[in-house]
């Protein structure tokens, strides 16, 4: 396959940035999207150009480090897929592909396609945990958990923190990310003691980071590589409401 890439290049946070066009040839359909970029970068290095900076690590769709807006869609058009798991067989020969970083004010661009997502860590710091120091836990079977609850908690807990939800949201909201953690812990008995204070602290931190509000557009869940359901946001709102009416 031969492709034309339009890639966002930005040397640093203060650079205005621009789209730059590259031609890539002999792309194998079995390549992953990032492997295609690897091949281009190898060429750029040999030509003495600065290769395209992008974040990636596990390349198996679980670490959450990679993420690009591909043809206007976070992680590309294939559903439930991270950028690293996207393969070139889903593109047509001769296509032009536009590649941009996540765009949201709380995710400033570091370089090219690399953005700063530390706001997510700070939302977790605000309350995304159960306070249980090592060694203080009771026997694991002392509290049975309904299978349905454990399964639903897992569905929410599967969030990889990639930030696609924010990039896709017209409001730049981090509601799906925040709600996923709140829902995971709210569904389990272990999460109950801190349930209400957790929701309040995390939502307040999310707002303080400059993320927008949720207007139920649903773009977040559409691009989420792990398919975190939209109703987690209802759970978040419910817990948050309790915090504010007590």
């Amino acid at each position: 396959m031969n492709l034309t890439l339009r890639v966002w290049r930005q040397s640093g946070p203060t650079d205005a940035g621009r789209m730059v066009t590259y031609r890539v040839e002999d792309v194998s359909p079995d390549m992953s999207f990032l492997e295609m970029l690897d091949v281009l970068n190898e060429r750029l290095i040999l030509e003495g150009d600065d290769p395209i900076a992008f974040d990636h690590d596990c390349r198996e769709g679980i670490c959450g480090m990679c993420g690009m807006v591909i043809n206007g869609v976070a992680h590309g058009e294939q559903r439930a897929t991270t950028t690293c798991q996207l393969h070139m067989r889903h593109f047509e020969d001769g296509a032009t592909i536009t590649i941009e970083p996540w765009r949201a004010a709380p995710f400033p661009v570091v370089k090219d396609l690399v953005v700063d997502r530390s706001a997510f860590d700070r939302i977790i710091q605000a309350g995304g945990f159960v306070s249980v120091p090592a060694g203080s836990a009771p026997d694991a079977h002392s509290i049975p958990v309904r299978k349905e609850d454990a399964d639903s908690a897992f569905d929410a807990a599967t969030c990889i923190g990639c930030g696609a939800c924010v990039a896709a949201c017209p409001n730049g909201s981090a509601s799906l990310f925040t709600a996923a953690k709140i829902t995971h812990l709210s569904l389990l008995p272990q999460g109950q003691p801190e349930r209400v204070s957790r929701a309040k602290a995390m939502v307040d931190q999310m707002d303080a980071e400059g993320f927008g509000g949720c207007t139920n557009t649903g773009e977040c869940t559409a691009v989420c590589p792990k398919g975190i359901p939209l109703d987690t946001i209802a759970q978040m709102n419910s817990d948050y409401l309790k915090a504010n009416t007590k």
Binding site: C63, H87, K111, A134, P144
Partner: protein
């Protein structure tokens, strides 16, 4: 490569007495630090995977002043996150005959009698606490309808002791540790530095007293001084270029510590995982593992005939060779990883492999789907099947998966004593970065167990003892400055070559060489070849590598070049270690040492020891630590 033999390591500091009392004894003999003094004591933890994340969180909870580093943009991304199958624990919730002793026994045997009994027993003891801790944190383990935890069986065991969270157990356990860590960041006990890479260890008066790191965004070289340093920087499987490790995984932190005096133990022990998706082309950047748990229900086979090009569905039952079930009737598809991997290589070498290049075997779910129904199979393995289809474009519900072995884990690592302290006082090494618990082969679902055992339970006790014995001398400023200069010089050197090959092209070549000569099967000839070729390739690297950009910016080419440079030196030591160990054991298979059935043949007379390598200006020095087995009788492993 020349080496000399140095003094034996006689004391690994395990307490004496009955094995079940040793850890209790050590905990009681460990000195305690007064709570008020803890916050004055500064501990650096490098790496935020299961071991590093849980250690930093726990040390923070105890009140120490902790600084934590990771190269990723968030501590949640460490590669523990990718572990799929599960975590072992001797809970015996099934009542199927499991016990601490049995987990200990299985691990020592699975490790092919090359691990320390005391360490492994402690690991089995602590395993039960890990599950309690993780459940209390809200880790959503799989449960049964009665609300209790579900378990499954895994390679190398005949009991069901593996706890799991669908195919994402590593992710859920890591997020538990990450959340505990972030709680401590909020509490102010842990200072977190993301996108920072450790480039040297500061050793002052013979003690580890800090690290030199590079801020990967600004390029700034920073000095961080502390009372003790913990390395939790993972394994070095990426020396093979293609492995199941994350792209960023590297040996730099432990290698630089080795250069500063920490012994490197058993570098040749590499685990080749039997169930990975085969290579599809030259551009391949990494290999993806399919969890070993699939072997619970999937059946491994190849055609009976050579070069059989029929589609798998067209090959009738009697023309299929379910070779694991045939050769190992007792364990069948659940033999340990090293055995399953070598068996796959053997049938492919016979010309019976499937898929492109004949480098693959089938993992077939037809019978499981017939027996349990498609829904039940999907519930158990849905995400793994999806992952497979995404990568290969084939649907495993209809066509058997194709799998092939790939480098997955390194049992070797920095030598540590019972306290997890290296040969540099004040330098502790935990998780995959150390060598201690898995011997020559790690059993499935034991990596998560070891990482969390070290981080939540072992290190916090033993490092306290070290710190309580202080305070130590003031840090020698000259040692700090010298370490920083060394780091800067190496970076300058990499940038100044301006040759014609990329760091990745060297890495690929080195990896191929290691896979061919020091991979699943090693011979004296192949290892000698590797030892000849590696220095040549390294010399070319330093004359011909091309690193673009500058040191004062985010520069992924520079990061990569530095890591590849260290891989060369490590590769050489791995081959030397493999050459010296003329026996076969676990993941280390020397073709010269096999029995009449082609199974690995140990040589306990000569090699029942840990090989701990010291790096000196005159070349490597080998220190042996004899392994004694008081409880588990050394036998030739048999899974037949």
């Amino acid at each position: 490569m020349k080496y000399t033999e140095g003094s034996e390591i006689r004391d690994a500091k395990a307490p004496s007495g009955p094995i079940e009392e040793r850890w209790e004894k050590r905990k009681f003999s460990a000195k305690l630090v007064n709570p008020a003094n803890k916050r004055k004591l500064h501990v650096i933890v490098v790496g935020t995977g299961l071991a590093g994340g849980s250690a930093a969180a726990t040390l923070g909870e105890l009140g120490y002043n902790v600084t934590s580093f990771c190269y990723q943009d968030s501590p949640r991304r460490a590669h523990s996150i990718a572990a799929q199958g599960g975590i072992n624990a001797a809970k015996n919730y099934r009542g199927d005959g499991d016990s601490i002793y049995r987990l200990f026994y299985d691990t020592v045997k699975g490790g092919d009698f090359r691990a320390r009994e005391s360490n492994v027993y402690r690991l089995a003891q602590v395993s039960v606490n890990i599950i309690d801790q993780a459940v209390a944190q809200g880790v959503p383990f799989a449960r049964e309808y009665g609300g209790l935890l579900d378990t499954r069986s895994f390679g190398g065991a005949q009991v069901s002791r593996t706890f799991y969270a669908r195919g994402q157990t590593g992710q859920q356990l890591l997020l538990g540790a990450y959340q505990a860590l972030e709680r401590q960041v909020a509490a102010g006990t842990v200072t977190m530095h993301t996108r920072h890479e450790m480039l040297d260890l500061i050793v002052s008066d013979g003690r580890a007293r800090g690290v030199i790191v590079r801020d990967m965004v600004t390029g700034e070289i920073e000095r961080h001084v502390a009372d003790a340093v913990v390395l939790a920087t993972g394994g070095y499987g990426n020396v093979f270029f293609l492995s199941t490790n994350a792209k960023g995984c590297n040996t730099t932190a432990i290698w630089r510590a080795h250069e500063r005096g920490a012994y490197f133990a058993n570098p040749c022990y590499t685990q080749i995982h039997p169930t990975c998706i085969p290579v599809s082309g030259e551009y391949q950047s990494k290999l993806t593992l399919m969890s070993e748990s699939l072997r619970n229900d999937g059946r491994v086979w190849v055609p009976l005939r050579k070069n059989d090009s029929r589609a798998p569905g067209d090959i009738p039952e009697q023309e299929r060779d379910y070779y694991l079930e045939r050769i190992y009737p007792a364990f069948g598809n659940l033999v340990p990883r090293d055995i399953a991997s070598r068996a796959a290589k053997n049938v492919c070498d016979e010309g019976r492999g499937v898929g492109p290049g004949g480098l693959g075997v089938y993992l077939d779910f037809r019978d499981a789907i017939g027996r349990l129904g498609r829904d039940a199979v999907e519930k158990k393995y849905g995400n793994l099947f999806e992952m497979y289809e995404r990568i290969t474009g084939e649907n495993p519900y209809d066509v058997p998966m194709r799998i092939y072995p790939a480098v997955h884990y390194t049992m070797g690592g920095l030598w540590v004593d019972y306290d997890l302290q290296s040969t540099i006082p004040g330098l502790f090494v935990i998780g995959e970065a150390n060598f201690s618990d898995h011997g020559a082969n790690r059993l499935g679902a034991s990596a998560l167990m070891q990482g969390l055992a070290d981080g939540y339970f072992v290190l916090p006790t033993t490092i306290g003892d070290y710190l309580a014995n202080g305070p130590y001398e003031d840090v020698d400023e000259e040692a700090v400055a010298a370490a920083e200069i060394k780091v800067r010089e190496k970076i300058e050197r990499l940038l100044s070559v301006n040759g014609t090959r990329t760091p990745d092209s060297f890495h690929r070549e080195l990896g191929k060489l290691m896979w061919d000569y020091c991979g699943m099967e090693r011979t004296e000839e192949s290892l000698r070849k590797a030892l000849e070729r590696i220095p040549e390739l390294r010399a070319e690297f330093w004359q011909n590598v091309k690193v673009t950009g500058t040191a004062e910016e985010l520069n992924q080419v520079l990061e990569k070049a530095g890591r590849v440079a260290d891989f060369f030196d490590l590769a050489e030591l791995m081959c030397l270690d493999a050459l010296v160990r003329t026996e076969s054991c676990g993941g280390h298979f020397r073709a010269e040492s096999q029995d009449s059935d082609g199974e690995a043949l140990r040589d306990d007379e000569q090699f029942a020891h840990v090989s701990a390598w010291e790096r000196t200006p005159d070349g490597p020095v080998l220190h042996k630590e004899a392994l004694e087995y008081e409880y588990v009788k050394m036998t030739q492993r048999s899974y037949k």
